[in-house]
Structure formats: structure tokens, C-alpha cells
């Protein structure tokens, strides 16, 4: 992917993410036997939020919210520009840092608890992503995203267990049930988001759309050079993820970390070791 395509894709990623989010709300509603909101509902929300009176706690907090948006945006560009996959993963951590520091910076218990849980989310899914970068390297022979996208091998064929693990941790990265402890609307009312409002909440809201693009592009990578399969995979992952969101209840953070560390990571490691042994 050239820099220009990457740049344009990144620039429009909030729009893409918004559509994905709109679609998600419809799909989830249909699964529950409801009609659901219109596809453009996220954008209507966007304009409504922009109209609201700006209320903030203090500028540092509000600024961190905006920087979370730019950090995520930049992380997405790093991923799409075809550079190193591991670097892109760690840039995602960097962008999360703003949300976390912002969440910590106000004296609101929900916000502080949410920020801490946000970090625990990272503890849960992050090793899995590092392992999948190593696994993709093992199959395609490169850490470069552009190389993986032009690879002759289809990583999915070699990495079924790892792919399953990544699929199951998708809710953790996007904060959806069963792994939505960081936001947990019924419990801590959005966690780090609670103290944002108006335009500043909009920034967080948009950043989350960008994270959708980020996460689903990661799924797309598992098809290697076969882009049609990649698209199919992403759509399937999208439906699976919504199904999971609908049928599961929230677990607590210990269960989340335990599930990732004791089930998903061993699954990924098994796959990694078998493929490495087979190759050697």
C-alpha cells in the first residue's frame, strides 16, 4: 500500500468506522428482534454532540481526550502505511496512554477505575497481538504490513488456533461484551469517558470508530495476499463479534485477564510452536 492510499484511508477512517458502528447497531438490533437505528445514526449523533454546550472539568483532561483521537489516528496510519506490524501495535498502546492519563487526571472514581481497567484490557490483549505479529512473521517471512498483504501464503491456513484467539479477544480491544469492563455502562458509566461531554466526548467517540478500523484491519491481515478472503474474514469476524456481544454478559476484570492469559495465549503459543517445529 502506498503512503498516499494509506493517508487517504486513514483520513477517511472515522467515516468508515462510523459506518461500521452504524451497521453494528443495526445488526445487533436485528439479532435482538428490533429494527434498530438508521445507518447514519452515529453521524447524526456526531452533529448533535458538536452542537452541545462545552462543559469541561479542566483543560488538561479535555486536551487528553482530543489527543486520544489524534494518537489513535496516527497509530492507524502507522498500521496502514505498511510499516512494521509490531511498531504499529505499540503505537496503539501509545494512543491508549492519552485516554488513560486523561481518565486518571480527574477526581472522579468512575473515571479512575475505568482508566485502570483500560490498562488491564491492555494487559489482557496486548501479548496476544505481539504473538500474532511473530506468527505472521513466521508464515509470511516479514514483519512489514505491506509484505504480509502481498504474501503468497494465507496465514489463516497455518494459524487457525491463533486466529481463533484473536477473534475471541476482539471484544477486549473494542470494549464490547463480554470484555467491556473498562466501559461497563451499567456499572461505571463509561469509565474514562464519563467526564467528557460535547465536542470533547465527540473526540473520544470518533477515536473509538478509528479503533474499529484498526482492529478489523488486523483481522484482514490474516488472509495475507488473498484480499477477497480477507474481506470475507472481516465480515465474518464482524458478525461473530456482534453475536458474542449479544449473547454474553460482562465478566469481571480478573476473569477477563485470566481468560486471555490462561486460554487464549496458550492457544496462540501452541499454534506458534507447532508451526515453528513444522517449519524447522
Amino acid at each position: 500500500m502506498s503512503y498516499w492510499t494509506a493517508f487517504i484511508l486513514t483520513l477517511f477512517s472515522p467515516v468508515i468506522g462510523g459506518f461500521i458502528y452504524g451497521l453494528e447497531r443495526i445488526v445487533r438490533a436485528r439479532m435482538q428482534g428490533r429494527v434498530g437505528p438508521p445507518l447514519l445514526q452515529p453521524f447524526y449523533d456526531f452533529f448533535k454532540l458538536m452542537d452541545k454546550r462545552s462543559i469541561i472539568i479542566h483543560s488538561f483532561h479535555a486536551f487528553m481526550g482530543i489527543m486520544y483521537l489524534f494518537g489513535t489516528w496516527f497509530a492507524l496510519f502507522v498500521l496502514l502505511s505498511g510499516g512494521d506490524l509490531l511498531i504499529a501495535i505499540f503505537f496503539h498502546v501509545l494512543s491508549l496512554a492519552f485516554l488513560v492519563v486523561g481518565g486518571f487526571s480527574v477526581r472522579s472514581p468512575y473515571s479512575v477505575i475505568g482508566a485502570m481497567r483500560e490498562l488491564l484490557h491492555m494487559v489482557a490483549y496486548e501479548p496476544l497481538y505481539v504473538l500474532s505479529a511473530a506468527a505472521l512473521y513466521l508464515v509470511t517471512g516479514t514483519f512489514q504490513v505491506s509484505g504480509i498483504l502481498h504474501s503468497d501464503h494465507i496465514p489463516l491456513v497455518y494459524l487457525p488456533l491463533l486466529f481463533t484467539a484473536v477473534l475471541f479477544s476482539l471484544p477486549a480491544i473494542l470494549k464490547k461484551s463480554p470484555f467491556d469492563t473498562a466501559e461497563a455502562h451499567q456499572e461505571i458509566i463509561g469509565g474514562p469517558e464519563i467526564e467528557y461531554s460535547g465536542k470533547f466526548y465527540e473526540a473520544i467517540y470518533t477515536a473509538k470508530w478509528i479503533e474499529y478500523v484498526y482492529a478489523f484491519f488486523f483481522i484482514f491481515l490474516f488472509a495475507g495476499g488473498n484480499h477477497i478472503l480477507g474481506a470475507l474474514l472481516t465480515v465474518l469476524a464482524f458478525f461473530f463479534f456482534n453475536l458474542l456481544d449479544n449473547v454474553t454478559a460482562r465478566v469481571n476484570f480478573r476473569q477477563m485477564v485470566a481468560f486471555h492469559w490462561y486460554i487464549l495465549i496458550p492457544l496462540a503459543v501452541t499454534n506458534l510452536m507447532l508451526i515453528a517445529l513444522w517449519r524447522s
Partner: protein, 623 residues
């Protein structure tokens, strides 16, 4: 050239003597000046060594050997005396055992004509760290002691300066017996420094540090003993000649590696380093960053060409990787700021030794980068811990709450220190990144799979830890109405600002730094430089690249944005109190302490003991 190397040992000692002989409160300025001299002097000498012809082998006269032997006995007898004086059973017994082993070694030691000093680029690299970071800590210590106890300042600073000379000497000797002497001298130095306050806890912790490090000394002596028995080897260069030969007897190397694990405070021998926090903060700074614990990765790096690919190396990878993760986990349960830093040192030392044991050129490069950046960052963080303690009376995480409102500089420096240990694009991250990508090449070996799991999980645990602390510091009540920097004494700024600048500039120009400065060291250790390239700011590794624009982008996000955050004021918006879902309660917000992890501590220690024994028994070929 020889004279320059000698003066690297002697200059700190002379300065130390000068400082020691100038007691009294009125001479404080003079002592400060003398201490300050160490920075330009040692840096210049190191510069000369770095640019000289390396490796340098220096033959020494016979009387020096005799002097070292006499010194050895004197040192061990002093340990024995301390053991008896404080009625410490372990210290006494271990000192006796060491005396016995030393005598045995001297009896069977063959005459050899191998030069006793061997200064290569790895030694010069260690000189570099000691003579910049180490001296800055000494300068810092003059101010710190002024605020603590001016009467004993001369002693304290003199010991620190003397320690620098010892450290320089320790990394340039070739004779293993001498190395033992200097290894135990650093033990002595840490012992004296830890008990410096002379209260009950200090003495107890100092004695613990003493006996644990004595075990390391015993391991060296045993390694030397078996080295003589099987090969007739008494020098490091002789051991290095074994590299590449199949089916070598690993016993001596196993013992030497174990001594490195002890010195590097790897579990189960981590408590001595934690105990060091009772001493004045510059002690922790110097033990954790420039000296003492850095002997451990140094020793592994020295031996890495020989142990590369052997079972010993693989077991070392697993053991140190395990420590990397579990020390990070245990750090989460701590509330004391210095203890958190101590655990993270243990953890990162594990990573340094892990990468050093991997032995390939890229891994060695990663290890050296880690050593360099860790030395700088840890020195910085401990200095900041000292500043918090002296200026803001903050020792625990609870005390540093909302520090950002009072002390923006301290918080900014501490945050840079913490972030540089985990996030892109700082030096420590780059080395971790290179290590993960290097380990991915060898995933058919269990040890390397282990290393990749450890690196992935350990890194994220440390990120959790650091952000927890940063989060507590940056909590605040309202707007920055008046932006006011706190008043930090000049000496404190003088010793911390260069470190911060190095971390930032070194990370921006990481590609150049690695390619031009650290790669020659790799060449000295492995025999061939790592296949990396610098193109502008872009770092190109064999399998991938870290682009300059990524580095710059991350710096804009991480460095400029937080500073900007002080000055951004959104006008035209309304300020409200926290919503907190409409609840009106008196709030006292703490942070997560992860006490739940304490449950696993016994298991972690048991596993660490098991791994330690496995490394020695299987890795050392004692089966």
C-alpha cells in the same frame, strides 16, 4: 594508552581520597568542586580509551598479582570480621568457605603468561556508563547529603567515587581471580553504602546484601576452580577461545553464569537489591544504574560467544525471562516509590541478561542498548525519587498524589523516565522490539518461544505499572491557573537534565547511535557487527524498519503534547465539578494496589528457585 586505562581506576580513587580528607561542614563547596571534577576528567579519559586501539592487553608485574592475593585475603577476613561482629551466621560461614576456596584456587592455579588486563570495546562501553552516569550521581549526592547529613557527607561521596574506580577496574580485568576480588569489592562497597545510616534496618539489609553477594563470589571461585581443573584456564580470554567448539564442559561457565544471576539480583536473590532502598537515595541510584548490578549483564555478555546456543544459554533465557515477568508482577503490589523502581530494575536486568544469552549479534545489540538506556533512565528516576523525598516529603505512591500541581518539572522528568521504559520510540522499547523480532527467528526452540511470551507479557505488565504511577501523579483538582515551576536546587537540575536530554536525543537519533556507537561494541563481543543500518533517522534491521517519521511522530505525541497540555486553555467552555454520576460524596481516590498478586508470591519464588537450580545443574552440566 595503558596509563590512560590505569588513570581511569586511579583518578576516582584520588578524588575519593581528596574528598575524604576534607571533612567538616565549611568545606562543602570544595568537596562539591572536587566531585564535579570527576565528570570531565573521567569522560575525557573514556573518550581517549574509546578512540584508542582496542582491544588492549596489558601485562602486569608480578607484585601486582601478589598485591591482589593479599587484598583478597584482607577482604575476606574483613567479611569474616563483620560476620562475627554482627553475629551473622551466614556471613561468617560463607566468608570461611570463600577463604577455603580461595586458598584452594591459589594452590592449584597454574602459572600463565596471559595478560591480566583486557580492555576491549565492551569494557570501554562500561567505562562510558560509569564515567558519565556514575559521576552525575556523585555530583547529585553532594547536594543530597547536604540536605541530609553534612557531617558525614565526605565519607559518603568518597565511597561513591571509590566505587566508580572499582567498577572501572572490574570490567577491565582478564584474570578471573582478580575479577573475583573486584566482584567482592563491589559487594563490600554496597555493604558499606547500604548500612550507611547505621540504624537497625540498614545493618540488617546490608548484611543480607553481603551474604547474598558472597554466594555469587563463591560461584565465581567454583567456576574458576573447575576452569582450572578441566582446562587449566584462569582468564576470560582463554574461556572465549572455547567458542564454537562442540561438547565443551559447561561446569565453569555454569557457575560464572550463576554468579551473574546473583549479582543481577535475579530471583530468588532479589531481596538484597530491594533492601538497598533503606540507604540514602544516591546509593540506590548508583547500585541500580551505573555500577554493581550492571556487572551481571556484563559477565553474561563476556561469556555469550561461548554459551551461545548451549543448554545453559537456553535455561538462562527461561530463568531471566521468568524474572522479567514476575518481578514486574510483584512490583504492581508495591506502594513505596523506590521499591517499585527496584522491582523494575530486577525485571529489566532479567531482560538484559535474556538478550545477552541469546547471543546473536542483533540480540547483543539489544542488550547493550538496554544497558545504556536503563542506566541513564534508572539514574534519572532514582534522582527524581530523591528529589521528591527531600523537597516534597513523598515516599509512597499515596504521597505523590496530585504532584503535578506542585512540581511540574519533577513530574515531567519522572514521566519521561517511566515512559522511556515502555513506549515507542524510546531506546528501551527499540531494544525490546529488536529482541522480539530476533527471537521470532528461532521459534522452533522452546526457550525462544518462552522468551517471546516473556517479552510480550513482561513489557505490558511494566506498562501497566508505570502508567499506574503516572496516573497518580497527574491527578489534579482543577485548571492550571498559574503556571509555576517548582524551585529545584541547581545541583539537582545539573545532574538530571543531561540524563533527560540524553534519553530524548538518544532516542530520536537511535539509528545513528546504534549503528555508529553501539555496533562496534557488538563487533567486539560477537566478532561481527549486527546487520543494521541507519538511513537518516530510520533504523533498518534485517527483517524490518523503524522509520524516522514514526520516531518523530511518537515524540510529538509523547513529549510536546504533554508539555503543551500545561498551556492549553479552552476558552469559551464552562468549568464544572466532576459529574461522577451525580453522587455527592467526600472523595478520597487512591489507586489499584493489586494485592491479589501477593498470593502468587510464594509460588513465584519457588519457581524461581527451581529455575535457578535447573540453570546450574542442567545448564552447568552437573548431571
Amino acid at each position: 594508552m595503558e596509563k590512560i586505562v590505569y588513570s581511569l581506576f586511579l583518578v576516582p580513587w584520588v578524588l575519593a581520597l581528596a574528598v575524604f580528607l576534607l571533612p567538616g561542614t565549611h568545606l562543602h563547596r570544595l568537596r562539591q568542586l572536587i566531585t564535579f571534577l570527576s565528570l570531565p576528567l573521567l569522560s575525557y579519559l573514556t573518550y581517549l580509551v574509546w578512540n584508542g586501539h582496542l582491544p588492549l592487553q596489558i601485562e602486569t608485574s608480578h607484585w601486582l598479582k601478589l598485591a591482589f592475593t593479599v587484598y583478597d585475603y584482607g577482604l575476606l577476613l574483613y567479611f569474616l570480621y563483620q560476620g562475627i561482629k554482627f553475629r551473622d551466621f551466614l556471613v561468617t560461614v560463607l566468608a570461611l568457605f570463600q577463604l577455603f576456596l580461595l586458598t584452594w584456587v591459589l594452590l592449584i592455579m597454574p602459572e600463565s603468561s596471559v595478560p591480566d588486563f583486557y580492555v576491549d570495546r565492551l569494557s570501554a562501553f562500561m567505562f562510558l556508563i560509569v564515567s558519565t552516569v556514575g559521576t552525575l550521581i556523585c555530583i547529585y549526592a553532594t547536594k543530597y547529603m547536604e540536605q541530609e547529613n553534612l557531617e558525614r557527607e565526605n565519607r559518603f561521596v568518597a565511597i561513591l567515587l571509590w566505587f566508580l574506580g572499582v567498577m572501572n577496574l572490574a570490567v577491565s580485568v582478564n584474570n578471573v581471580e582478580w575479577f573475583f576480588a573486584l566482584f567482592e569489592t563491589t559487594t563490600l562497597a554496597s555493604y558499606i553504602l547500604i548500612r550507611f545510616r547505621w540504624d537497625e534496618v540498614s545493618v540488617r539489609n546490608a548484611l543480607r546484601a553481603l551474604w547474598m553477594n558472597q554466594i555469587g563470589g563463591i560461584a565465581i571461585l567454583l567456576g574458576l576452580l573447575f576452569g582450572i581443573k578441566y582446562y587449566g584456564f584462569t582468564h576470560f580470554t582463554q574461556f572465549l577461545s572455547l567458542s564454537g567448539k562442540p561438547a565443551i564442559i559447561m561446569i565453569p561457565l555454569g557457575f560464572l553464569a550463576v554468579s551473574a544471576l546473583v549479582k543481577g539480583a535475579q530471583m530468588p536473590f532479589h531481596r538484597w537489591l530491594l533492601g538497598a532502598m533503606v540507604a540514602p537515595t544516591p546509593v540506590s541510584a548508583i547500585l541500580h544504574s551505573a555500577t554493581m548490578v550492571k556487572i551481571a549483564p556484563y559477565l553474561i555478555l563476556r561469556l555469550s560467544p561461548v554459551i551461545k546456543g548451549t543448554l545453559l544459554a537456553k535455561l538462562l533465557i527461561i530463568t531471566t525471562g521468568f524474572v522479567f515477568v514476575s518481578a514486574g508482577l510483584l512490583a504492581l503490589t508495591q506502594e513505596n516509590f523506590k521499591k517499585i523502581l527496584a522491582y523494575s530494575t530486577i525485571s529489566l536486568l532479567g531482560l538484559m541478561m535474556l538478550t545477552a544469552s541469546m547471543g546473536s549479534s542483533v540480540a547483543i545489540l539489544a542488550s547493550l542498548t538496554l544497558i545504556l538506556f536503563h542506566a541513564v533512565v534508572k539514574a534519572l528516576l532514582f534522582m527524581e525519587a530523591g528529589i521528591m523525598e527531600k523537597l516534597f516529603k513523598a515516599k509512597y505512591i499515596e504521597d505523590i498524589r496530585r504532584l503535578v500541581e506542585r512540581a511540574p518539572i519533577t513530574v515531567a522528568f519522572t514521566s519521561i523516565g517511566f515512559m522511556s521504559m515502555t513506549i515507542v520510540p524510546y531506546g528501551i522499547f527499540v531494544s525490546k522490539w529488536m529482541a522480539i523480532e530476533e527471537a521470532s527467528n528461532f521459534l522452533s526452540h522452546g526457550a525462544y518461544v518462552g522468551s517471546i511470551i516473556f517479552m510480550a507479557t513482561g513489557g505490558v505488565i511494566l506498562a501497566l505499572l508505570y502508567f499506574k504511577v503516572i496516573g497518580v501523579m497527574t491527578r489534579k483538582r482543577g485548571e492550571f491557573l498559574r503556571f509555576q515551576l517548582e524551585k529545584v536546587p541547581f545541583v539537582y537540575l545539573f545532574s538530571t537534565v543531561p540524563l533527560v536530554l540524553f534519553v530524548i536525543v538518544g532516542s530520536i537519533f537511535i539509528a545513528k547511535l546504534l549503528a555508529l556507537s553501539i555496533n562496534p561494541v557488538v563487533e567486539a563481543v560477537v566478532g561481527a557487527p549486527a546487520p543494521i543500518m541507519a538511513k537518516g533517522l530510520t533504523l533498518i534491521t534485517p527483517v524490518s524498519a523503524l522509520y524516522g517519521w514514526q520516531i518523530i511522530g511518537a515524540f510529538v505525541l509523547l513529549l510536546i503534547v504533554p508539555i503543551l497540555a500545561y498551556f492549553v486553555h479552552f476558552t469559551g467552555t464552562d468549568r464544572v465539578y466532576e459529574y461522577t454520576c451525580g453522587e455527592k460524596l467526600e472523595l478520597n481516590i487512591g489507586t489499584y494496589n493489586f494485592f491479589c498478586i501477593q498470593v502468587v508470591e510464594p509460588f513465584v519464588e519457588t519457581a524461581a528457585v527451581a529455575l535457578f537450580v535447573l540453570t546450574l545443574v542442567l545448564g552447568g552440566g552437573l548431571v
